[in-house]
């Protein structure tokens, strides 16, 4: 009888992994959470921060505040206005003061109100960037979170590997198809699923930005998003192969915690690293070439227009070489530890050639 070819076997394994995962509730809950989170991140600031500040105005001050972006409430006396401020019904009161006006506020100078009332001098940026630091912060947060979510999602590979070891179906599997096809199928299946989710997110992101009234940011984000996807996918393959090894080293779900630590660091590292250092161009530059952190750091640098396309390509190349190396290492560790049951397999033993 015709034996399944390597690619057929890989695909069958991948197909099963995908089917299994999409029939679990956790998968959809996680995905829904990601989408909702993304919308919340972009939309909520405009919802909460979007209203004009409320002020009370008295007498001649009313003319001054007209036409400004303020929610004005006219009152008769200064005393009434002050009461409204004290009652926290308005943020500030604008009252006549001699020939001009003055602002009454409770305990903080209301910057947003004052800025409406003064004539701001023109500003010329010598090193103009298309994005301000606020927008950059949101981008770092979103890229970092997406990377974190999908990286953690890869833990499903470790779980499926342990399930196979724990139920011993692994014996049937390895007597049927090459171990590498098993590993490749798992990584392929989960990568396709991740890619699918990324595509949905990439389609949802512009909608979220439009809803938030940040449509103009779209033109700036789009190229960075374009770079983010290949980095994310390669980064995912890298993390996946590590998850697979973490699963192969133990024999029971309960023991999985003991081998997942290193992979968790590899997933969380880039997230926190970029969060802490995104204002530090030197550290960020280094991180954008280190394979594990490149997935977030390089797109962020591209977004901030700190990196040239050739740098991105170079970093992508380094990442690709690392992926191949780690895959080879992982494949050996996976093969050698898959049939070992009982205690956790030591890395050195998994690496040693089979006896």
């Amino acid at each position: 009888m015709a034996r399944a070819s390597f690619s057929q076997a890989t695909w069958l394994v991948a197909e099963r992994e995908m089917k299994t995962l999409v029939t679990t509730k956790g998968f959809w809950i996680g995905f829904a959470f990601t989408i909702v989170g993304l919308f919340a991140l972009t939309v909520l600031p405009t919802v909460f921060g979007g209203d004009d500040p409320k002020v009370a105005a008295v007498g001649s001050a009313v003319q001054v505040v007209q036409g400004k972006e303020l929610d004005v409430r006219e009152v008769g006396t200064v005393q009434e206005a002050a009461d409204l401020v004290r009652a926290d019904d308005v943020e500030a009161a604008i009252v006549p003061d001699g020939a001009g006006i003055k602002v009454l506020a409770l305990n903080d100078a209301p910057g947003d109100v004052v800025s409406q009332l003064v004539q701001a001098p023109p500003v010329e940026l010598l090193d103009a960037s298309a994005v301000n630091s606020g927008q950059r912060f949101v981008t770092v947060l979103v890229f970092g979170l997406v990377f974190l979510m999908f990286g953690m999602g890869g833990a499903a590979i470790a779980q499926s590997t342990v399930t196979e070891k724990q139920t011993r179906i692994v014996e049937i599997l390895v007597s049927t198809v090459p171990v590498r096809a098993l590993l490749a199928g798992k990584i392929l299946g989960h990568t396709i699923l991740t890619l699918g989710q990324v595509v949905v997110l990439a389609l949802a992101a512009p909608i979220a930005l439009r809803v938030a009234g940040l449509g103009e940011l779209l033109g700036v984000v789009a190229p960075a998003l374009g770079w983010f996807i290949p980095f994310l996918m390669l980064g995912f393959v890298l993390i996946s192969s590590m998850w697979a090894v973490a699963g192969a080293l133990v024999s029971r779900q309960e023991d999985l915690g003991s081998t997942m630590g290193l992979v968790m660091i590899a997933v969380m590292g880039p997230y926190f690293g970029v969060q802490f250092f995104f204002e530090n161009p030197v550290v960020l530059k280094w991180m954008s070439f280190v394979p594990f952190t490149a997935g977030v750091a390089m797109p962020v640098r591209l977004f901030a227009e700190q990196a040239k396309p050739w740098e991105a390509l170079l970093s992508l190349g380094i990442l690709a070489v690392t992926v191949v190396t780690i895959l080879l290492v992982a494949s050996r560790l996976y093969t050698n530890s898959l049939l070992q049951t009982g205690a956790r397999v030591k890395l050195s033993k998994a690496w040693a050639p089979a006896e």
Partner: protein
């Protein structure tokens, strides 16, 4: 024919298999007997190519096995396992396809096997929802669904109730009758006795007995006979060279030159039965290990 020649394997300093050789002939059920830890599972894993041997060869139809020349094995591991959350029919079909069977054939074979194993009603259930006995039947289906060229079954009957044993036996006999060599290990000697055509007995990593069931019995039969006469059979001990092993009124089990005893018995009166005592597998097993 599956040929195992001179297989040795050590784990660290511990020699688990020492020059193991035997054949699994087509169309025959070969029972693989041995105590726990005697090397049965290790041998099976080496035959399957899951584990490498330190020395020796496994050949199929005269050709040494490599990943390319390996026939399609149907394997039932000792420690049972399938995906607990996958539906029975999906699971069996998937395993068939993993062996290279096309989708339609895989589905047809699955349905047919589930019917043979009386599992049709459970086809849409998740494996974990089945009783252990039924899970065991699913495991048999998993080993057979791709119409394997060779069957390797590690303790296929353990955990089955007597009715399930019969169902599984029927299914396996049918495969053997169609020319598939079947190697199965067991420590339930009564089942092996009833079922197998050939026997391989392994002890401490060495093959200590090997051949067809009848050959083995004849070989280990020695000169033991049972006679039943109409009166007390105590006189047998007076026949020169005879040694009585059991005496129970008119019945005696003895070792001696049989014709001499028979002649003496006929001179004394009626002989109701006179038979060579063939050892059970259990006795052979105890004798050789």
């Amino acid at each position: 024919m599956l040929t195992v020649r001179g297989i040795s394997r050590s784990f660290g300093d511990h020699k688990v298999l020492d020059e193991v050789s035997f054949d699994v002939r087509p169309g025959r059920m070969t029972g693989f007997l041995g105590a726990n830890g005697s090397g049965k599972t290790t041998t099976m894993r080496i035959v399957l190519g899951v584990l490498a041997a330190n020395a020796g060869t496994v050949s199929w139809q005269g050709q040494e096995l490599t990943p390319q020349t390996r026939p399609d094995f149907g394997y039932m591991p000792e420690e049972r396992g399938l995906y607990p959350k996958m539906k029975v029919r999906d699971q069996i079909t998937w395993l068939a396809r993993l062996h290279g069977v096309d989708r339609e054939t895989a589905q047809r074979n699955t349905d047919q096997l589930l019917e043979e194993l009386e599992l049709t009603g459970r086809a849409g259930d998740r494996l974990e929802e089945l009783s252990l006995g039924n899970q065991q039947r699913v495991q048999i289906a998993a080993a057979l669904v791709h119409e394997p060229a060779v069957l390797i079954l590690d303790e296929p009957f353990s955990g089955l109730d007597p009715i399930a044993v019969e169902t599984v036996l029927d299914v396996l006999r049918k495969r053997a009758a169609s020319g598939v060599p079947v190697l199965f290990s067991s420590h339930q000697l009564a089942i092996v006795e009833r079922l197998c055509d050939d026997v391989v007995i392994i002890s401490k990593g060495r093959v200590v007995a090997n051949g067809s069931r009848e050959e083995l019995r004849a070989k280990h039969a020695g000169s033991r006979y049972e006679i039943v006469v109409s009166q007390d059979a105590g006189w047998v001990r007076d026949v020169p060279g005879a040694r009585i092993l059991e005496l129970d009124g008119p019945r005696a089990v003895f070792e001696a030159e049989p014709q001499q005893v028979l002649r003496a018995a006929l001179e004394r009166g009626e002989v109701r039965s006179f038979t060579p005592v063939v050892p059970t597998l259990d006795e052979i097993f105890r004798e050789v290990i």
